[in-house]
């Protein structure tokens, strides 16, 4: 329990640091965010100056401290102001429309990659030196390849040359997002190539990590003992070796789930996928500071939450953590 409380305290501090940085960095920048926005959108009336100031929270009357408190208060109420690019819809609305795209695509792909990679890792760790191991150099190449480059290759061959897949975007032109068969079908069709890219490029990492831990675990005495007892191979592999080798893997999985929210940023750019990564990059290139702040907050929140859940799972799964604390 003390362990959990200490971790909780740490995450609170980390969240506070991130929020504070998020508040101060735009203010410390040379140049004025408001001017930058005014320059970017020449059709804005000069009278909009104060509106933008208010939106960014920079022109607030009162001290820096007062602004800071107002900012924290707004953030806690998920009030991020109005989006500059899609003026005047609130940032939180735009975010709300974008998040589901990223969450379903990257989430599904991450889960598939994790299970596939872990299973392959168990197999190749057990059959050390078997045929799966011979794929290792190739897997390392897949791991080292920038995944957006892999996406570019897939796109040029499968989508442009062969025409099997759509070239980009989240759904076919002319469809209106909604819960009907045509739209969902189109969305799934458009997500196949991006999902495939994520799975292929991340499965190698899961597999290599699992394999290495498996090989170390297999050398343990209790595995040898289980074999000596005459248990079936399958039981030894899954119940004795893999189960114990799974902890680091679970930790990584939790973190990966946290990063799902930030999306596969560059992948979304390659496929022009309407997710949060594309939104972030568009916000950065158009100086959309409120949107940048909001996206960073959401990503940070997701990552900290995922970390906390990982901690809870590990305390539940690994008695050593508990006893170490008790001592």
């Amino acid at each position: 329990m003390a362990f959990i409380l200490r971790r909780l305290g740490f995450y609170l501090v980390a969240a506070w640091v991130a929020l504070t940085a998020n508040f101060f960095i735009p203010r410390a920048m040379p140049g004025n965010a408001v001017e930058a926005i005014m320059a970017k959108f020449p059709n804005l009336q000069p009278s909009a100056y104060h509106a933008i100031e208010a939106m960014l929270g920079v022109g607030h009357p009162g001290s820096l401290w007062h602004q800071y408190v107002t900012y924290l208060d707004n953030v806690l109420h998920f009030n991020f102001g109005l989006d500059v690019s899609n003026y005047p819809s609130p940032v939180s609305t735009v975010l709300g429309q974008t998040l589901p795209w990223t969450l379903t695509l990257v989430g599904t792909a991450t889960v598939i990659a994790f299970f596939l990679g872990t299973f392959l890792g168990i197999m190749s760790g057990w059959r050390h030196g078997g045929w799966l191991d011979r794929l290792l150099p190739g897997l390392m190449f897949l791991q080292a390849i920038p995944y957006f480059f892999f996406a570019l290759i897939l796109l040029s061959v499968l989508a442009i040359k062969l025409g099997w897949f759509p070239i980009g975007s989240g759904y076919a032109d002319g469809l209106i997002p909604g819960w009907n068969g045509a739209f969902i079908g189109s969305a799934i069709y458009h997500s196949l190539l991006p999902a495939f890219t994520i799975v292929i490029t991340s499965v190698a990492g899961w597999m290599l990590q699992m394999r290495n831990v498996m090989i170390t675990t297999i050398g343990e005495d209790y595995v040898l003992a289980a074999q000596a007892k005459g248990l079936s191979n399958r039981r030894v592999v899954f119940t004795y070796a893999a189960r114990n080798a799974l902890l680091p893997q679970l930790q990584g999985f939790g973190l990966a789930l946290g990063f799902v929210v930030s999306g596969a940023i560059v992948m979304e750019i390659v496929f022009n996928y309407p997710g949060i990564g594309l939104l972030l990059v568009n916000a950065v290139t158009s100086n959309d500071y409120p949107m940048m702040q909001a996206i960073f907050f959401v990503i940070m929140f997701a990552v900290l939450l995922a970390n906390l859940i990982v901690d809870l799972v590990i305390v539940a799964a690994d008695p050593r953590v508990r006893t170490r604390e008790a001592r």
Binding site: G129, F149, V284
Partner: protein, 367 residues
Amino acid sequence: MTATGFVAVPEAAPTTVQPARRFGRWQRLPLKAKAGAVLLGFFALVGIFGPMFTPYDPNYQNPSPAMSLIGPSAQHILGTTTSGQDVFSQLLVGVRLTLELALLVGIIAGALSVIIGVSAAFLGGVWDELLMLLTNIFLVMPGLPLLIILLGYFQHAGQTATILVLAGLGWPWGARVIRAQTLAIRNRDFIAASRESGETSWRIIVYEIVPNEISLIAANFVNTVLYAIGASVALAFIGLSNLSSWSLGTMLYWAQSQQALQLGAWWWFVPPGLAVALIGTGLVLLNTGIDELGNPRLRDAAHATKIEGRRQRPTDPTPVLPTAVAAAAARTSPLTAFVRSFSRSAYQTDSASSASASVQRRPANEG
């Protein structure tokens, strides 16, 4: 594969002439480490000498429409871009810039890791708590989104900003590992001895502790360089970088933004991407190979026992001959000792907490 590791060669004859011994050492490296070193060496040569041999000025835009987007030919080995620029020349210059940036990030972030990791462990108490809090906060920060946002704010600051931001976010993992190792070394006898003999803390850190961690620092450096290459190429590809200079990332950016994909100009975007992938593979191979050198269990089980035509998992967890290793270690040159120790601690990065368990490295001042 006869000599997967130094274990397989029991006693390299100590009296052999120098060149033969050098070759023997190289041979003892795992295949993966060799392949990685060769790949990296090739790209290092390209980075150093490539820009001297560019057949064209990478910026020169050939106005003749006939020279636009031509495929690989004798005149243009890797073809031309839409505006008639020579892709091969861009690649030669781009490799240098990308490697340069990655090395600088590796050096700065590596130095930060050492400074923070060692001081946290050495100062202890409140300092340790504070520095580790800082490290852990940086560790949980989401990397790429944060980089994008920061570079969004610093948009026009160019290459220096990229290097500083990448280095500023790249140190925490190394700092944590180095702290763990320093904690383990700090209580060794030879440190106590130098303290007793009146050496100052600075001297102990610089001459006793850091040299004993050089392997870990090097492994951390390789990882940081890998991270820097991946992140800088991704950032340049998004367009958040100095787009007027040629790096592998900016090449990909221009190829993508000028529709190379839709035009079917594969010679424009495949070479830079492939170069990044090969450099990355080289780094991964080097690290894994060296990892295997220290952890025999991870090796390609080419030497694993075969029973009924099927490879069985090695039940003997440590096929290392301790006496052979110790004897060999006792008479090796600093370089070999360096490579060997590198591997041990590279393995320890997996389990930093057990850092103290297996390192029996000889203190530097003993030799």
